[in-house]
């Protein structure tokens, strides 16, 4: 039976790889989910077949409770809350890895079993990464859910404190590898890892959450991978490595989209420096009513809508769909330009728009649509700010200089729906708002779009 188990593991690993491969297009993606589910089922069956498993009441009870928690989460969670759910899921995954590592450490010690050095290294890495990802993800979840303050929390010598703490934890880890019988060290080691997870995330601001979530994803994968080494299980190594590399790629994409480096995201405390930035002098701008806006939109041949997280906050997705529908019916070509960091996690804005039934072939990535702004009649910016700021291209002194942006300012007319002239999250003034061709539409995104739609049909009858 043990052999059958390891063959099933190979099939399962192949299914996981196929599962991710099929995610490359929306057409095959659901097949990917099915492959993943089958792989997981096979892995569990193989484990049970290949090993003598006892304590079934514990295992089945845990499966039952896990399912009872998991199903409602999957169906009730609103799409705006998906980043929080993802952070929670990183926390659960990391906790599982850390606890298995802990249990394995104490088990070996109790049986006076000497684990090979590399197994100890793997165990230490598994628990270190597991515990710090656990608390780190909980902190990220708190920030995303706005239970915790979104602004970075900083204090003097923060980086030094963090570094020293991490160095102590790592030192204890090394000591555990060298002298595995020193069980008293383990709780301190675990405690420091947990504490480091908290301290690592508190200086990171809300706007950097997409990168942090992706990075935590990578850590959670790596701790599962380390568990594979500790338990001598290649399937765990493969699945963990896939997850780890996925998180790594996503965080690199996020960093590039904000023109920041890893170290800058983790140690830079973005947003904190600018909050004290002096308000720029009052500059003139033009504003317009919903009626004017709707006649401009109706007269346009092509419109590019630039949605940002503000749109999700205002729950305006469904109204945007209505606007999209009625403009398309009038023969206006409407496209959506999605910046990679729009939303609170990678790809979040696409999900929110897809939920509102906007066809995905109308959603364009930044690089694919930037060339089109020059020929577009109207760019309608809703709830996005920094990703449209031309200062990122031109103003070397701007904190966002060098960040790739959507070239909204090249459109013939720009309309921006915004609550007020207050600068956005990063506290940077946006030159776009003061351009001659820019019309500011003041109000709540959802209410304003509703008004624009109301103005539209009246014109058809007239």
């Amino acid at each position: 039976m043990a052999h059958l188990g390891s063959y099933l593991y190979i099939v399962s690993a192949a299914l996981f790889i196929l599962s991710l491969k099929w995610m490359n297009s929306p057409a095959s993606a659901r097949r990917g989910v099915f492959a993943g589910e089958t792989g997981m089922l096979l892995a569990i069956v193989a484990t049970v077949l290949a090993n003598n498993i006892f304590n079934w009441q514990w295992i089945l009870a845990a499966f039952f409770i896990g399912t009872a928690i998991g199903v409602p989460i999957a169906y009730i969670m609103p799409m705006t809350a998906v980043p929080q759910r993802t952070a929670m899921s990183h926390a659960c995954g990391a906790l599982a890895a850390a606890l298995v590592g802990t249990a394995e450490f104490y088990r070996a010690n109790q049986l006076h079993e000497t684990l090979p050095a590399f197994v100890m290294v793997a165990l230490v890495l598994e628990t270190l990464l597991g515990y710090l990802t656990f608390t780190g993800s909980l902190m990220a979840m708190g920030k995303l859910q706005e239970v915790l303050p979104q602004r970075p929390i900083t204090y003097r010598n923060q980086n030094t404190v963090n570094f020293v703490l991490f160095a102590i934890a790592a030192g204890l880890g090394v000591r555990l590898v060298l002298v595995p019988t020193d069980t008293w060290i383990f709780p301190i080691f675990a405690g420091l890892s947990l504490l480091f997870g908290v301290l690592m995330i508190i200086p990171i601001g809300g706007a950097d959450m997409p990168t942090v979530i992706a990075l935590l994803n990578s850590y959670a994968g790596l701790s599962a991978c380390a568990m594979g080494f500790a338990l001598g299980n290649n399937l765990l190594v493969v699945a963990g490595a896939l997850d780890g590399s996925s998180g790594l790629i996503l965080s690199i994409i996020m960093c590039k989209a904000m023109n920041r480096s890893f170290t800058n995201v983790l140690f830079g405390a973005f947003g904190q420096i600018q909050t004290s930035a002096v308000q720029a002098q009052q500059r003139p701008y033009r504003s317009a009513s919903a009626e004017e806006a709707s006649s401009i939109l109706e007269a346009a041949g092509s419109v590019i809508i630039v949605p940002g997280y503000g749109l999700a906050v205002a729950q305006a997705q469904h109204k945007i769909r209505e606007l999209y529908d009625s403009l398309m019916r009038r023969g206006v070509d409407v496209k959506f330009a999605i910046h990679p960091v729009a939303g609170r996690m990678p790809g979040h804005m696409n999900v929110l728009l897809a939920e509102a039934d906007i066809p995905y072939d109308r959603l364009y990535e930044m690089d694919d649509i930037n060339g089109e702004f020059g020929q577009c009649d109207v760019a309608l910016v809703i709830g996005a700010n920094d990703v449209t700021n031309p200062a990122a291209r031109t103003d070397k002194s701007s904190p966002i200089f060098g960040m790739p942006i959507l070239d909204v300012d090249k459109a013939h007319t720009v309309m921006v729906i915004k609550r007020s002239m207050n600068p956005g999250f990063a506290g940077i003034d946006n030159d776009l708002y003061y351009m001659d061709k820019t019309l500011m539409l003041f109000g709540d995104a959802k209410a304003f779009v509703t008004e624009i739609i109301k103005e539209l049909p009246a014109k058809v009858e007239a």
Binding site: M23, V100, L250, D357
Partner: protein, 96 residues
């Protein structure tokens, strides 16, 4: 397990992962992350081995129990929510 074989598997899986993930459309990055999350809950296998070992101590059982619960929560919610999200992605032709 032989360490060198383990590292070999790790190296190959990482490269395969990097190559595949690079090709995933940014459109699907959120479902991708929930899917990889569900897949990394493969740690349930380790948790079952720890909990189900013959003569497992009370500590092992309790830690294993929590670990299985956490991992199964991830498996179930991860796969289901990924599918729920993917169902929403429609082309124009498919629209009613």
């Amino acid at each position: 397990m032989d360490l060198s074989i383990g590292l070999f598997v790790f190296m190959l899986a990482t490269f395969v992962g990097l190559e595949i993930i690079r090709k995933v459309s940014p459109l699907l990055h959120t479902p991708l992350m929930s899917l990889t999350n569900a897949i990394s809950a493969i740690s349930v296998v380790g948790a079952i081995l720890i909990t189900g070992a013959q003569g497992a101590t009370m500590l092992s059982k309790i830690l294993g129990f929590i670990a299985i619960t956490a991992a199964v929560t991830n498996i179930v919610s991860g796969f289901l929510i990924t599918d729920r999200m993917l169902k929403m992605f429609k082309r124009r032709e498919e629209k009613k």
